[in-house]
């Protein structure tokens, strides 16, 4: 514990690096996955191609991806963007699948009725399908967030600073306080991200929360009638 206090500035700096590495892939991956996932939910061909391509990408070990991305994109080998691009690919591998499920979960009745009352296709997407896909999208991005935060630690192995550095060196020199500090810090970052996401979800998807209240209301109503 004493080691943590003495080295707090370093841990804090690495934490910020870690956030800088993991937050962009979560956001970019989410934004890119929405149209692709929607497309996948609408077309069988698109679905099979997108899902299999990203499943294959997902099986590539992170280190391989970290090394091939700079070659493919012509970036310097130590550019943090390499990690961000690689993590975005992983994020999309999870998120496209999730978005496909999310848009598939919107009831056909509701889509039809939106069409029948005169929503244009664009209005229907933004005002009906996207919000209704919300709960499943939220579940997806929470998985993405946790997995991205933990994957970002691998950046340490190719010399890009992240909290991974802590347990990497801690492991190499058998210095357990540093190793544990790294693990705990990663867990905290992941937990904070998750709190932020579920908070946003609660804010943006209010009708979802009422489900529980609805049951309560019904029970009350029954009692009143009785």
């Amino acid at each position: 514990m004493q080691w943590v206090w003495e080295n707090f500035p370093q841990i804090w700096a690495l934490t910020l690096d870690h956030i800088g590495l993991s937050a962009p892939p979560i956001v970019i991956g989410f934004v890119l996955s929405i149209p692709l996932g929607y497309w996948a939910s609408r077309s069988r061909v698109a679905r099979s191609i997108l899902l299999s391509v990203f499943s294959i990408l997902y099986t590539l070990p992170a280190l391989v991806l970290f090394v091939t991305v700079p070659v493919a994109l012509g970036l310097a080998i130590l550019d943090p963007n390499n990690v961000i691009v690689a993590l975005t690919i992983y994020a999309m591998a999870i998120m496209i699948r999730s978005a496909n499920d999310a848009f598939g979960s919107v009831s056909a009745d509701v889509r039809e009725s939106a069409r029948a009352v005169g929503y244009s296709p664009v209005q229907r997407f933004f005002r009906v399908e996207l919000p209704l896909a919300g709960p499943v999208l939220l579940a997806g991005i929470r998985v993405v967030s946790v997995s991205t935060v933990s994957l970002a630690t691998v950046g340490g192995f190719i010399g890009i600073p992240s909290l991974g550095n802590l347990f990497q060196t801690g492991f190499q020199i058998h210095f357990f306080p540093e190793l544990w500090a790294g693990i705990v810090a990663v867990l905290i970052v992941a937990a904070v991200f998750d709190l932020i996401l579920s908070g946003l979800g609660r804010l943006l998807i209010p009708w979802n929360r009422r489900r529980t209240r609805r049951r309560a209301t019904r029970m009350v109503a029954k009692e009143v009638i009785a």
Binding site: D109, V110, E112, R115, A116, V117, G118, Q123, R210
Partner: protein, 301 residues
């Protein structure tokens, strides 16, 4: 007036859902399409607001070919009520009712005021306005669906088996409510159902459809009941099973002035009043439906 002129719908897989269908749907009356599932009745209904476009033929509303109207615009001017209400689960009741008004860019205060009025019109308490559809009962949701259909004050209201999924008691309620609304609001209603009793109850004009949307018989409920055009119709309306042929039960003693009626199967089907042994008579004049009886109908709801 809505007119179908030799309308056909051929799906790419070769199914002929509608084949050379022609009919005139009069204004301010209720026309019911009734038939078994898969007969094409819903397809016909959905052609009126261009949810489905015919492969052949023309559909006109008041003489204008609807194929020339942009579908989204057309739909905003036609009320639509579907089975399972089709309400947007993420919007509150009041926003659901006001949906079409918002789409038509009516300012919010006016839209909400109108939506609140509509809740009154369909017999819902305004206190439900802030709820989400999932918090309402099936019957209430269906009423909200009707309110939404009426929001833009359309001349035409399309109803696609709107009461198919609610329990029988609520259904009777909603049917009565529909007749009341029709009396008060004077819409051209096109109603689709597979329930012949519902068709006879609500329809000024009833079309019994066979597979491929072929018209088996068209007419008022009285005409169809008195003269089924074919075995198919007789079967469909239950005449051949004797469900509608009633006789006075000779074994049961009259109670007061009422005689018990039994159907051909021997089941009790109802009672008829027969003061002094003489059967009561009446003329078929479905007051509840027809607008001409408007004045005599106060308090009938």
């Amino acid at each position: 007036m809505i007119e179908f002129k030799s309308v056909s719908k051929l799906y790419p897989d070769g199914t002929r859902a509608v084949d050379d269908f022609s009919v005139v749907i009069p204004s301010r009356k209720t026309t019911v399409f009734v038939g078994s599932s898969g007969c094409g009745k819903t397809t016909l209904l959905r052609m009126i607001n261009r949810m489905v476009d015919p492969t052949d033929g023309v559909i006109e509303i008041d003489g204008d070919d609807i194929a020339k109207t942009e579908p989204v615009h057309l739909r905003r001017g036609i009320g639509y009520v579907m089975q399972n209400s089709g309400l947007l689960p993420h919007r509150r009741v009041i926003d659901n009712v006001a949906t079409v008004l918002f789409l038509n860019k009516v300012p919010k205060p006016q839209a909400y005021a109108r939506a609140n009025e509509l809740l009154d019109t369909v017999g819902l308490d305004r206190s439900l306005a802030k709820r989400y559809p999932g918090e309402l009962s099936g019957g209430q949701q269906q009423r909200v669906g009707v309110a939404r259909g009426l929001a833009a004050n359309p001349n035409i209201l399309l109803m696609d088996e709107p009461f198919g999924a609610v329990d029988p008691i609520v259904r009777v309620d909603l049917q009565a409510e529909t007749m009341r609304l029709q009396r008060e609001l004077d819409k051209t209603i096109v109603f689709v159902t597979h329930d012949i009793d519902e068709a006879f109850l609500l329809g000024d004009q009833v079309l019994i459809l066979e597979k491929g949307a072929k018209i088996a018989q068209q007419g008022t409920p009285e005409e169809i009941l008195a003269n089924p055009a074919s075995d198919f119709v007789a079967n469909f309306i239950g005449a051949d099973r004797g469900k509608r042929r009633l006789t006075v039960d000779s074994k049961v003693k009259p109670r007061g002035d009422d005689l018990v009626l039994i159907d051909a199967g021997g089941y009790a089907a109802g009672v008829i009043s027969a003061p002094d042994g003489k059967l009561a008579t009446g003329t078929a004049s479905p007051k509840s439906r027809s607008i001409s009886n408007k004045t005599s109908q106060a308090g009938d709801a």
